[in-house]
């Protein structure tokens, strides 16, 4: 599978990136170089191998337990106030590039 300029433009769009013309050309080159190396995975027959998303799929919990019971350690009862107090509006807005004291501000979303 060869990545083309068109693929790069499509993926950049999905990733919310623009990329300049130079960056796109370089990205075609780099992605093909890396994916060329990645193709070696196809040497392995993995039809009967389960995928592993998390380390806890393999350790730390009793294998004999079923489904969500295996991950019981990772769940807890609801805490009405949350595990820690919510930030005040001031604190939550302190790092905002643009805010009006109550809300984050962004340019108009709906064009007329």
């Amino acid at each position: 599978m060869k990545v083309t300029e068109k693929d790069v433009a499509y993926v950049a769009d999905l990733a919310n990136l623009e990329l300049s013309g130079d960056e796109r050309a370089r990205m075609v080159r780099d992605l093909n170089s890396i994916l060329g190396h990645v193709d070696s995975l196809n040497e392995l027959e993995t039809k009967d191998v389960p995928p592993m998303a998390q380390v806890s799929d393999r350790h730390g919990v009793d294998e004999s337990k079923k489904g969500s019971e295996r991950f019981a350690y990772a769940s807890r009862d609801d805490v009405k106030e949350g595990l820690r107090k919510s930030f005040s509006t001031d604190v939550a807005l302190a790092n905002a590039p643009d805010a009006d004291g109550t809300f984050f501000k962004v340019p108009k979303v709906i064009e007329r």
């Binding site: 993926v11 950049a12 990136l17 623009e18 992605l31 392995l44 592993m52 380390v55």
Partner: protein
């Protein structure tokens, strides 16, 4: 006070015995940072106010003759991907150039509760993506052992600060080798714990199933003291494990005689520098001399680790980094007219080349039509790589290997070839995919006096075992 070579215990006892004060010690470190760090580049931000307030608190306790906690007055540095309340945290990225976090990372809070004095934030590759620290948006880090060379990455500042006595001990993060590889390049100890051993709360996420926080130190004992302090269940991280934390320090002195140490031929193949090979083989002989039984094991899928890793890591990164959109915090591009332009232009101008490359690769691997061929395939290979370790650990207590195929390379040597840079992680990424603990310890130098590191891997939650092997080697070498 001479701060060269200071360890946690020597710093703490100097304060406890009133030979110095925590305040004087912090000032001495700041003076050394002032004089030496311009040529190294380890620190991005100094947190003097916070450090001196903590030091004063320790000094008041010492004056009253109170029993001091394990890290009382010990000057530490924190990798800039760990958030610190009120202290600018950038993750080495322009997109977080002005970010001042409203909360503390759990690991940092635990260090301070144990008396540590946080000197400042340490340079790293942008969002911890890199193997040389050259991807920092701010400045590169120079290896204190040879300033023309890289310190390794992504926790290059954390490793260099310990090597250059700009902190007694530091915290870093390791997603594919980012603690162990710089530790080996700078000649210090670096520990990546088991996945779930240390809370990730407050670690700016790169790849959540692979990210780990861990310590750097001059000695294995310092790594053990740090781990004991930061390990353990944290309700703020649901993947932090409910596994009791042993006293890693007390267990260091247990004998290693009769322990079975595995050596896998797959870690000694083509591409391994001959001087690195010789140093690691000599270290294995030292362990044999201590009464360890050396056993050959096989990790047959090792050559597939880098491709599997770079698919899983970038897929997770593309998702994690979607949050940087120029709206709630971080950089926003100027003169943008629509919301979609805010997202795109802020990300375009805020992220560096390597971060964009990884977002693109990860987005591609997750996109419709390619998910099964790339992401799902990599997850299946992740199972095979984990089984390799599980099978080997039926036969041995620990496995040793080189940390990196070469000693530190030159600044600029690999910046234009991302694949060559990725291959620098060839011996470290598998431990992240499997979630097993690994420690890198110094085992000598090349003819050019560049440090060489050896890794010791253990079973899940067997940090005590690998620390004990590392400590025994350190005493014997």
């Amino acid at each position: 006070m001479n701060i060269t070579g200071l360890t946690i215990d020597s710093a703490r006892s100097a304060i406890a015995e009133r030979k110095t004060s925590a305040t004087a010690l912090a000032e001495a470190f700041y003076a050394k940072i002032e004089s030496d760090d311009s040529k190294i580049g380890a620190y991005l931000v100094l947190s003097k106010e916070r450090a001196l307030a903590k030091a004063a608190e320790v000094d008041r306790a010492a004056e009253k003759g109170e029993k001091l906690p394990p890290l009382a007055g010990v000057p530490v540095g924190i990798k800039d991907v760990l958030v610190t309340k009120g202290v600018r945290t950038t993750a080495g990225s322009k997109i977080l150039g002005n970010y001042v976090p409203p909360y503390d990372c759990t690991a940092v809070a635990r260090l301070e509760s144990a008396g540590a004095v946080v000197l400042g934030k340490l340079n790293c590759d942008e969002f911890a993506m890199g193997s040389s620290n050259e991807n920092s948006a701010w400045k590169p880090v120079h290896n204190p052992r040879d300033l023309s060379r890289v310190p390794g990455g992504s926790s290059g500042g954390s490793a260099a600060a310990v090597a250059a006595d700009l902190a007694v001990t530091t915290l870093g993060s390791d997603t594919g080798g980012s603690i162990r590889q710089p530790a080996s390049f700078c000649g210090v100890v670096g520990l990546k714990p088991t996945y779930g051993r240390v809370s990730r709360y407050g670690l700016i996420a790169f790849a959540s199933s692979l990210d780990h926080i861990g310590p750097f130190g001059k000695t294995v004992k310092d790594a053990a003291i740090m781990l004991r302090t930061i390990a353990g269940r944290d309700p703020m991280d649901s993947t932090s494990a409910e596994v009791p934390v042993p006293d890693y320090v007390a267990e260091l002195e247990k004998p290693v005689k009769g322990m079975k140490i595995g050596v896998a031929k797959e870690y000694f193949g083509d591409g391994l520098d001959s001087e690195v090979r010789a140093a690691v083989e000599a270290a294995i002989q030292t362990l044999a001399g201590l009464g360890c039984e050396i056993v050959e094991v096989s990790l047959p899928h090792t050559k597939y680790a880098i491709p599997a890793y770079y698919l899983v890591a970038t897929a997770e990164a593309s998702s994690n980094l979607a949050r940087f959109d120029g709206v709630r915090y971080g950089f926003r591009a100027k003169s943008v007219r629509s919301l979609s332009e805010v997202y795109r232009r802020s990300r375009d101008e805020g992220f560096g080349a390597e971060v964009k490359r990884r977002i693109m690769l990860g987005t591609y691997a997750l996109s419709a039509g390619y998910y099964d061929a790339y992401y799902l395939k990599a997850q299946r290979v992740r199972t095979l790589l984990t089984r390799d370790f599980e099978d080997s650990f039926l036969k041995v207590d620990a496995i040793v290997a080189p940390t990196s195929p070469t000693a530190a390379f030159k600044l600029g040597e690999k910046v234009d070839d991302p694949l060559a840079m990725y291959l620098a992680d060839i011996y470290t990424v598998t431990a992240n995919l499997a979630g097993i603990p690994g420690i890198s310890i110094p085992v000598g130098t090349t003819k050019e006096k560049l440090p060489i590191g050896m890794q010791i891997f253990g079973k899940h939650f067997a940090e005590s075992t690998i620390l004990r092997v590392g400590h025994a080697y350190e005493k014997a070498a």
